[in-house]
Structures are given as C-alpha cells and as structure tokens.
C-alpha cells in the first residue's frame, strides 16, 4: 500500500471531523442533523452518479487475502518432518526383551549403547523391520548427535531406551512396570486392572488417604468365594459414619468378574474420639459427668418418670403440675440436657417452689431453671400474687428484681400442699419458695382513685404554618431550560443538551417536544435504542402529533431501513397531510429504494409546500436525472 493513499485517507478523516464540528458550532441544532443526513446522501449520490459505487469488484481475492493473513503470521517455510508421537511400548514387547525388568534409570542412559546391552533384540518381536534410512532421532535437522557407533535402532529398541516414565498415581492405569511375568499373569485375570492387583503392598500408591484396601484382603481365588474388603481408617480420626457416607463405587473401584461372588465391606472404626457428633445423643455420656452430676441426673430422670406417671394416671384431670422435681435441684443445679437450651427464666434464683394442688404452679421443673414455670389455664387466676423468697434465697434472688423487695408484713398464703407429692415434699426453711397473695389496702385504693380523678390538661394545638410543597420549576423556568438545551446543542455540546432535556422531562414528563429533541440527540449519537424509546414516549403522549412519527422515520432512514422509514412517513402524512418535511423525507427514501418517479412526486410536493427546505432543489434535480434515465 502506498503511503500517499494512507495520507489522503487521514487527511479526509480529519477534514470530515472538522466539518462536523464546524457544522455543530455554526448551524442550529435541527440543521446539524439535517446536514449529516444530507451529506451522507449526497456522497452516495455522487459516487453512484459517477459510477464509483462499487468500483472494486469481487475478483475472488478474498480467499487469497485470508491465506495471506495466515501466512503473514507464519511465514511459509519447509516444515520439519513430523515426528510421530512415541506410542507406549506394548507390554508384550517389553516382556520379550530379556532383562527388561532391570530397566536402567534415566541417569543411566548417558553411557548406554545398544551393543553393550545385556540382551539382544529378537527380530521376530520387532514390528517394523530396521531400515537404512536416517532414523528419526527427535532432534531438529542439523542438530542430530553424531553416532559414536553404528546403532541399529528399531521402535522396540527405542522404546527400551526411552526413559521410564513416572508411574501414574492413578492405580487404575493399566500401564504398569514391574515383573513382566507377573504382569502377564495379572493381565490374564480379566477385567481386574493391573493397578488394582499390583499395588497391594505399596500403600503409597493410594490416592485416597481415607482408606486403605490391602491386597491381602482381596482374597479372590475363584468364583463363588466371598471377598472381604477391609477399609481401615488411618488418617482422619473423624472419618466414621460421616466418612463412610462419602464412599461410593468409584472409591472402591473393585471390578469383580464373577457376579456370584459376594462382597462384604467391613468398616473398622478404631478411633472413637469425641468429635462433637453427640449433639443428637439424648443419653448422658458417662465419661463426661462427675459422680455428683451423675446422681443428680439420675434423680432427675426419676423425677421425670414420676411426673409422667402422674400426668398419665388417675390424676390426669388435675392440673399437670408438679413441684416435686424442684427438690432435687437444690442446692446444685443439675447439668442441663444437651439436647436443647431453653431461654433463661425471667425470675432469677428460682430453685424450688413449694406449690401444687389446684393452684398448679410449677417452677424449676426437673430441677432445671431453664424450664419455665407453667400455670394451669383451668385454675383460678390468683389475684395480685407475689413470690416471697426466704432469707436464704433472698440474697441469691436479690439481683433478680422485685421478688426480693417484698415487705415482711405481707400475708403469706400457701398454695396447695406438698403432701400430694410424696417423697419430694418441701423440707427446710431455706430450700424453697412460697407464694404470697398481696392485696391492696384501702389507702392504696384511695390513691389510685385520686390518680383517676386528675384531669389532664387539654393541650391547645399549635398552629403550624403550612408551607407549599415544591412542585418543581415553573413554566418560565422550564422554558428557560429548553432554551438552555437548544443553546447547548447549537454550540455542539450534545451531552449538555441531553442533560438539559432530561431536566425538562424530570419536571414535565409530558413534554413531547423534549422527548423528540432528546431522542434526536440520541439518534445523532447513534444510540438508536434510547432514541426510539424517547420517540415512542412522545408518540404515546401525543398520537395525533406527526413529529414523533417523522422522528422514527428518520431513525429508520439513518439505519438505511428505507421501507420502514417510508411507512413512518406515511403515518405522519396521515396525521398531517401537508407536512412538507414528511414529503421530503419520504421522497428521499423512495429515491434510495430506486423508486425515482415516486421520489420526484414527493419532492415536488415538498417544494410546493415549503420552498425553504434545504437542498430540495438538489434532490429534485437528482430525481429528475434518474427519471430521465
């Protein structure tokens, strides 16, 4: 490509950008858009009229160009002879070489010569006979090492000389290395892979650290015998049932040929360390409790059984209340069961309650303060009752609230009798609670009545001055915003124009002109989706307005979709039959569809309606020229 052509193209690009900027600066906004459209149309007309529309024919060089693109990246040169990928040596061939089990290591290849090898290669085992051609040594041309001795190379020999690859970790890989006789024997066994059978004594080959399947356990000498697979957990002490659940067929990877053989998997769990799984264990753990706690817990269990018996027995009609369990709770609270933890009771220090009978108040059930007090619904509701705590417990309960602040003069009422509950009756002064009923005295009632008689002062409502809600800019301010937007567009600041029109639409969402103007700005940016959105908004707001239809037609025209553009102009002309610009645009669209007669008619109508349409005479002249042809 010539440099001059590139310079011409650069010059033209710069000039076009400069002209568009100048047009935006010196022309009003609608004219700027019009200039862009008309200039593109004019350029196309110039090229077509001069016969340069498609001056470069398709001469079939595209394929060559594509090839050239490839060859430019990779210059053509003689490709080196492809070296076949080294196929894995067949096991039988390896086994046919005597001493193959003593294959040297990679470091031993330095001084190895084929003539000095321990054994000779048997000709009948060689698939490819040796040739006199230059063997493929795998080196680039010109870099082959000079042979010190004449080496008769064959694929088998090369395979024997190839460094022994690292054995794969996957024991299912059928390629293995070891005693060839043993390998052949194992291959005869059928579907059992070599890796499964060979790696029995080497625990390092196992990829799954969770289990070890020893080869001794794979005692399958014949069909019909049971296979005992022992899975020993050696690495992870937590892998008990949880780990077992992860095992599947792929983990075991044992393919037993005989279907009649029964397999048995024995899971040996030797480590039973506490792993926190006792969360669901409702029974107490002997190892975790002290003897005292154990006794208390046993007593609690006895209490639970007794209470269950009472609840289900003949006294079931009585309130399901028991205070018997509270005895065993004092002075030391039993450990809470692990199953769940109830919210703490509201009355602190409740260790035991002397209650029962019809009143039916239970506190500290099972000796556990976590179990809340239950009151029977059928029992009469006590009036103004309070819990009186004895001196021994008052100190403990002093931080708990109002229970410790009771007066000594208050009458103490016992609710029920503890005799109904047998052995766990209340004993001792300091080991329980008693319920007191406190009634209001006359003085207190009078005080309450006095409080009721107090009349509340009527507050006079303050007069709050009402402030008008700011409902946005006024019409004058909106008009000023529109002028600002138009000025910004006239100055070429399209973004500011879009922002101003957006401000106008924020305040006046029904402004059709703002929608159309902003949509045309989007169209000028090439943002067809936003432009179409604005035009459709405007059309929805004012279906009788032809401007949105014309704008949509311009959008289709810009996308060179002339058929749809003509449809839109037709719709606009239905609304406004004397719209000169709609005729002009439709005429230009017809022109590009090569319907020159219709184009000339529309352009003539447009000129009759408005002779000031820019370039209308030029368009008419072009159409006439085409019609004459």
């Amino acid at each position: 490509m010539s440099q001059e052509a590139n310079e011409i193209l650069t010059l033209l690009n710069t000039t076009e950008a400069f002209l568009r900027t100048q047009a935006a600066l010196y022309l009003p906004f609608p004219s700027v858009l019009q200039v862009g459209l008309d200039a593109a149309s004019r350029a196309q007309i110039i090229l077509e009229s001069a016969g340069y529309g498609e001056i470069v024919p398709d001469d079939g060089t595209d394929e060559l160009l594509r090839r050239a693109a490839v060859t430019d990246e990779q210059p053509p040169r003689a490709a080196p002879p492809a070296r076949p990928a080294p196929a894995p040596a067949p096991v039988a061939a390896v086994a046919s070489v005597p001493g193959a089990d003593d294959l040297p290591g990679e470091d031993d290849f330095t001084d190895l010569r084929l003539g000095t090898a321990d054994g000779e290669i048997e000709e009948e085992e060689v698939d490819d006979p040796p040739t006199d051609e230059t063997p493929d040594t795998g080196f680039p041309p010109g870099f082959e090492p000079e042979p010190e001795e004449r080496i008769q190379t064959t694929p088998v020999a090369r395979a024997a000389l190839e460094p022994v690859p690292e054995p794969p970790e996957d024991t299912s890989d059928p390629v293995t290395f070891g005693d060839p006789e043993e390998t052949e024997d194992l291959l005869r066994e059928g579907d059992r892979t070599i890796g499964d059978a060979m790696g029995g004594d080497d625990e390092d080959d196992r990829t799954d650290p969770r289990m070890v399947i020893s080869s001794a356990d794979l005692a399958m000498d014949g069909p019909g015998q049971d296979a005992l697979v022992t899975i020993e957990d050696t690495s992870d002490p937590r892998s008990d049932l949880d780990g077992l659940s992860d095992l599947d067929d792929s983990d075991l990877d044992i393919d037993i040929e005989d279907d009649s053989a029964e397999s048995e998997v024995v899971v040996r769990k030797e480590d039973s360390a506490d792993d926190g799984l006792e969360t669901f264990d409702l029974m107490p753990d002997d190892d975790d409790q002290s003897p005292d706690e154990e006794e208390t817990f046993v007593a609690d269990l006895a209490d639970i059984e007794k209470m269950k018996a009472k609840m289900s027995g003949s006294e079931s009609d009585r309130p399901s209340v028991s205070a018997s369990a509270s005895v065993s709770a004092a002075p030391k609270a039993a450990p809470a069961p692990r199953v769940m933890a109830a919210p703490p009771p509201r009355v602190a220090g409740v260790a035991a309650v002397q209650a029962g009978g019809p009143a039916g108040v239970t506190a500290g059930l099972y000796g556990n303060p976590a179990v809340p007090t239950i009151r029977d619904r059928n029992a009469p509701k006590p009036a103004a009752a309070a819990i009186q705590i004895d001196d021994a417990q008052q100190a403990a309960a002093s931080h708990g609230g109002g229970a410790g602040s009771l007066l000594e003069e208050e009458e103490v009422l016992e609710l029920g009798s503890s005799e109904d509950y047998g052995e766990e009756e209340y004993e001792g002064e300091g080991d329980g609670l008693s319920l007191d009923v406190q009634e209001y005295g006359e003085e207190e009632e009078e005080e309450i009545e006095e409080l009721d008689d107090i009349e509340l002062e009527e507050l006079e409502p303050e007069e709050v001055p009402l402030e008008p809600i700011d409902d946005g800019p006024s019409e004058a301010e909106l008009a000023a915003l529109v002028k600002k937007a138009q000025a910004a567009v006239a100055e070429g600041d399209m973004e500011a124009g879009i922002n101003f029109f957006s401000d106008v639409l924020d305040s006046d969402p029904d402004n059709v002109d703002a929608y159309v103007s902003r949509g045309r700005l989007y169209l000028d940016y090439g943002d067809y989706s936003r432009a179409m959105s604005d035009f459709m908004h405007a059309e929805t707001l004012q279906p009788e307005n032809p401007e949105p239809q014309i704008a949509v037609g311009d959008l289709h025209f810009a996308r060179k979709d002339y058929n749809r553009a003509i449809d839109c102009f037709n719709e606009a002309l239905k609304i406004a039959p004397n719209h000169a610009m709609a005729f002009c645009r439709r005429g230009i669209s017809h022109y590009y569809r090569k319907h020159y007669t219709q184009a000339l008619e529309d352009l003539n109508k447009a000129q009759k309606l408005d002779d000031d349409i820019p370039n209308i005479r030029t368009y008419i002249a072009m159409a006439k020229k085409k019609v004459k042809k």
């Binding site: 490509m1 010539s2 690009n13 022309l27 004219s31 470069v56 820019p614």
Partner: protein, 102 residues
C-alpha cells in the same frame, strides 16, 4: 512504494480542502456544509477503496511469486484488473478533488 500521481493528488486535495473550509467558516450555510461534507465523505470512500485495492495487489504480488503455470497466469490477470480499477479510482479522486475546489 511512492506514487507520484497520488502524491500530487494529495497535495492538491489538501490545498482545495483548506480553501473550501476557510470559505465555509466565514459564511455558515447549511447547503455549503452539505456540499463539502458530502464531497469529503465520497472522497473518503474512494480512498478506502484505493487502500483495499492496493492491499489486494500486494497480496497477489506475493502469491504470484510462489505460483506457477496456470495459477500464476490467473493471478497476473487479476493483478491487471486491479491495476485498471486503481486507475479508475485515482481518476475519480482527481475529479472529486476538483469538485471540492468549486
């Protein structure tokens, strides 16, 4: 590869564009903008086509060097066609360059 025709065309085009743009900015007229902008757009399209033709010719020249027999003759005939096309394009560019000056 220097092309004297294109070089003179480039110089003339630059001069004409400067003159036209200077006259345009003094009296901003929409039709003048349309006329000169349309010409510039058309010129640019022709220049793009000229670049394309030059690129094709360059590739064909390289291909001819590696071809022989019938393939080489076919490629040579294509090169001739491209040369004719290029001549047309240069003529069109010169014509439009003169139009810009008016």
């Amino acid at each position: 590869m220097a092309d004297p025709d294109l070089r003179s065309l480039r110089d003339r085009l630059r001069q004409n564009l400067e003159t036209s743009v200077a006259a345009l900015t003094e009296e901003a007229n929409e039709s003048d903008f349309v006329a000169i902008l349309g010409s510039v757009i058309a010129l640019r399209q022709l220049a793009v086509q000229l670049q394309d033709v030059d690129h094709r010719a360059e590739v064909l020249h390289r291909s001819v060097a590696h071809a022989d027999g019938a393939a080489a003759s076919a490629l040579t005939s294509r090169l001739d066609e491209l040369a004719a096309t290029r001549s047309k394009l240069v003529d069109a560019l010169q014509t439009l360059t003169r139009e810009v000056a008016r």
